[in-house]
Symmetry: C2
Subunit: 393 residues, 2 copies
């Protein structure tokens, strides 16, 4: 099978001589972004608390939507009837959707974060059955029996109409053994081939498909999965599945994959975007990240900050009660520059939702600034000193 | 006692020959607004879900803060330490604060809406004691015993630093009898004189004081209270207290007061702002309105609309599930113009708070448009036909 992506391009503009880090240019029908970059999660068709204009004001380049949530509510047919997800949520820039698999399996086994981080908490399980055909699960919305197959995932993603879309795969959990991981990976490869076939059937040039590297924590399986994606006509590659139970293991596994995958394709790291991880993974050659964290932590009153321990401050803390300083006096974003920490502390304390909007926009802006600085540092060969500035070393 | 307000002015620019309606210009140290106008409620120091920039974008002229809520949290001293309420919440235009009395008494007896509308529901009562000195009540925040007196109310309002401030008064409930209403009114008058004395002691020209007409549903008491406010050096007059149990009674009581109060001062109608009421009360000579409704109904998914029954549509209604129309395609406000009703319906359905921001800004914008059109219609003598356009006659 051969596939062309005439309306898409990925060019590598600069390579770091001391690492695998690279600066690239990723072109889509909805615009061109520079990489490394960060894809913000518009889970249910909206970034939490922020409009597309507020995302633009925070200098956002690209967002994503979750196939799983959108197929459940409002449904892919409705989004298609409304002109697609770009028209529906009014984001006119590049957009990605995932395959839906991650949520089915993560919510099926327990919480997402618990699973990929190896914690074992009990939770309502919605996954009912995995077969060669696909995955059967219960809708958290109305209890309805739903089925996601490679063909259905591609069909839903086509109706949503994002620029960058994903093959259907199973995201294995930390607690599964090698035999299951291997079996699951081979099924995900077969699901990937069916995703490619379905993608090709409807291919009109508006979308580009990513393949996903599985294989859990096992070196030989990861290498086999790298080879599998490399041999398929995907536009991009994603590193998915279980990345171990510790940061060290996650870096080790990612490090195995990066030299083995297709070197000319953009590489996305699924669901990961903590600031220290961004520095480490950019060095390994990752081009794009996504994580719900910037807007999720905003809802708990955490504001991201450069050069402070943990890269964030807790605005609920009593120390900010009378702090007249803004979140970032040097920012050109009004949300970061205009309100005192004392005011945001007050808003959080009395439950005014305006706080979430202010802090979410600030956090998005901080991450976008980080990514701009990372790209400049890769070009200048100064990533190590930038990392020290950010991590507050 | 004589008081000057050198930094304030109220000029009447146009009078309707067929009613008491008038167009005025109200000048404050933070800017000049035209009247009739609408004062949006920033209850706890923020308009629900909207930043000052979003309020400006919706063409807002003036907002208010609630003394009662702000003295409880974060406290007037903290707001003063942060430079006053304008600096704290970053609204740089004209601002009003109330005296705090309304919430003490309304929350003291039951819910605000129940009381002024004559319904009798039980609720936790926080009011502990009313004496000549003032009102003692329990903080809903931490159970602390608090006292509000005329002197304390003026002191708190001075620390908050709004342009337009209010005498301390008791807002009587619908269920009280004539004897109590009379006793309370006379005490409110004495509190008004103490408010004036305290205001004069600290008067530095930055603030202007409104007196409040009480007297409940009793004609002679209302006239006595009108005369009392007229004889005092207040900058403005407010119609307060219980305005009866029906719209007819409310219009009747307001109608008694309007010819009797000081004719050259701006007149505020406390806590009322439904669209039919605005037309009727502008005809009676009311200059400013305030009500929490535009942002409160937004939180329940109601969008204001010109010319439809009830002047609002319920975006949660299933009929909007696939409605591609925006809230108002002719608006220059992106929130009103850019999102389909189907998208907002979806956001409300899945609990995305972005919906509240969109609908709140739309509603504020609709009310500001209404007030612009009302001013133009008073000037043109076309208020009756404008009312028909709005109410969907």
């Amino acid at each position: 099978m051969a596939l062309d992506y005439p309306n898409f391009a990925f060019e590598i503009l600069h390579r770091d001589p001391d690492s695998r880090a690279r600066v690239g240019r990723l072109s889509t029908p909805h615009g061109t972004i520079e990489t490394p970059n960060y894809i913000f999660c518009g889970t249910k068709g909206a970034i939490k608390n922020l409009s597309p204009r507020q995302m633009r004001e925070a200098k956002t380049d690209i967002i994503l939507g979750n196939t799983y949530h959108l197929m459940i509510q409002p449904g892919a047919e409705l989004v298609a009837e409304m002109g697609g997800l770009h028209e529906f949520n009014r984001w006119d820039g590049p957009m990605m959707t995932d395959s839906g698999g991650f949520q089915i399996f993560a919510m099926g086994h327990g919480s997402v974060a618990d699973e990929i981080k190896g914690r074992n908490k009990s939770r309502v399980k919605s996954l009912m059955d995995i077969s060669e055909e696909g995955a059967r699960f219960k809708s958290y919305w109305n209890g309805e029996d739903l089925m996601l197959t490679p063909e259905k995932s591609i069909d839903v993603q086509r109706k949503l109409g994002a620029d960058l879309i994903y093959q259907f795969d199973e995201c294995t959990a930390y607690h599964v053994d090698r035999a299951y991981t291997e079996e699951s990976m081979h099924r995900s490869h077969r699901w990937g081939d069916r995703s490619l076939a379905e993608f090709e059937r409807g291919h009109d040039g508006r979308q580009a498909l990513y393949g996903i590297v599985q294989g859990g924590v096992y070196n030989d399986l990861r290498l086999e999965s790298c080879a599998w994606t490399k041999d398929r006509p995907f536009f991009g590659t994603a590193i998915g599945g279980c990345l171990g139970g510790s940061t060290e293991e996650f870096y080790e596994i990612t490090g195995w994959c990066m030299p083995q995958i297709h070197q000319d394709r953009p590489v996305h790291l699924l669901g990961i975007g903590a600031i220290p991880d961004i520095f480490n993974c950019v060095r390994m050659g990752i081009d794009t990240f996504d994580c719900v964290s910037p807007t999720r932590i905003a809802r708990h009153g955490w504001a991201l900050a450069k050069g402070v321990p943990g890269n964030r401050i807790n605005l609920r803390n009593a120390r900010y009660r009378n702090d007249p300083e803004p979140l970032d006096g040097e920012s050109d974003l009004p949300a970061s520059r205009d309100f005192s920490r004392a005011y945001i502390h007050h808003l959080l304390k009395v439950g005014e939702l305006l706080a979430l909007q202010i802090v979410a926009q600030h956090n998005v802006s901080v991450i976008n600034r980080l990514m701009r600085e990372v790209r400049a540092a890769v070009r200048a060969g100064t990533l190590d000193s930038l990392e020290k500035e950010w991590l507050g070393d």
